[in-house]
């Protein structure tokens, strides 16, 4: 009987460890996936502001391009998020 309880406890511990590892991996995946787009969005916005300051008459065109660039860059973070929800949420 005691051996049986021990086996069940071991199986539970293994399942917990597996779930914990999956959650840690998913968290790292999301965190790392958000860093790149963060840098990219900062670069896009910074350059767009530089362009608007240099050429105010082109601000509308620059802001249009900036908005789309930000949204495309953000797609990378969303892909990381999807990996996160499929792995560990």
């Amino acid at each position: 009987m005691e051996a049986m309880i021990g086996l069940i406890a071991q199986a539970d511990a293994a399942a917990d460890a597996k779930a914990a590892n999956a959650a840690i991996g998913a968290g790292f995946a999301y965190g790392l996936a958000a860093i790149g787009p963060g840098i990219g969005i900062g670069y896009v916005a910074g350059k767009a502001i530089e362009a608007m300051a240099r050429q105010p008459e082109a601000a509308g065109m620059v802001r249009t391009t900036m908005f789309l660039g930000i949204a495309f860059t953000e797609a990378l973070a969303l892909i990381g998020f999807v990996v996160f929800i499929l792995l560990g949420l």
């Binding site: 900062g42 802001r63 908005f67 797609a75 969303l78």
Partner: protein
């Protein structure tokens, strides 16, 4: 004595906010796309997939609107506020999407694969669709299509 020199804190972009009209345009197209996605996900994942597709699409469209709103609000203040809005808005919106999915993760009607697929497909699909029209309107005048 006041400081009258121009800086990123006291100058702001001129003109209208194109990002708001772009995001409204994408939402208009998104509303057309939602039934198609809901049907496709319903066929693949059942009723859960259909509900999840609708939820994910609403998340993406809300994300676009919020992003445009934050940028437009920042640009009415100054260049510095615009940049701050873009960067903090990115973190804020990612957190918002995370919590929006987190609170429904155990709901009976949710299908996480359907949510994930719909988030990526809707986001990229609407952007590429919009890019087609924006690219046409931003083209050098000599390249603009003319009426036949």
């Amino acid at each position: 004595m006041t400081n009258t020199s121009a800086s990123a804190w006291n100058t702001k972009p001129t003109g209208d906010a194109p990002e708001v009209s772009i995001s409204l345009d994408m939402v208009r197209r998104g509303v057309v796309v939602v039934p198609v996605l809901v049907i496709i996900c319903g066929v693949i994942w059942g009723a859960d997939g259909a509900w999840s597709a609708a939820y994910a699409t609403a998340l993406v469209l809300g994300n676009f609107l919020l992003s445009a709103g934050i940028i437009a609000a920042g640009s009415r203040i100054s260049y510095a506020a615009l940049l701050s809005g873009v960067l903090f808005g990115y973190i804020f919106r990612l957190a918002l999407i995370f919590f929006a999915v987190y609170i429904v993760r155990d709901a009976g009607w949710i299908s996480l694969p359907a949510v994930g697929v719909c988030i990526i497909v809707t986001h990229l699909g609407l952007l590429i669709w919009e890019l087609k029209y924006v690219a046409l309107s931003l083209a050098y005048p000599g390249l603009k299509p003319t009426q036949p």
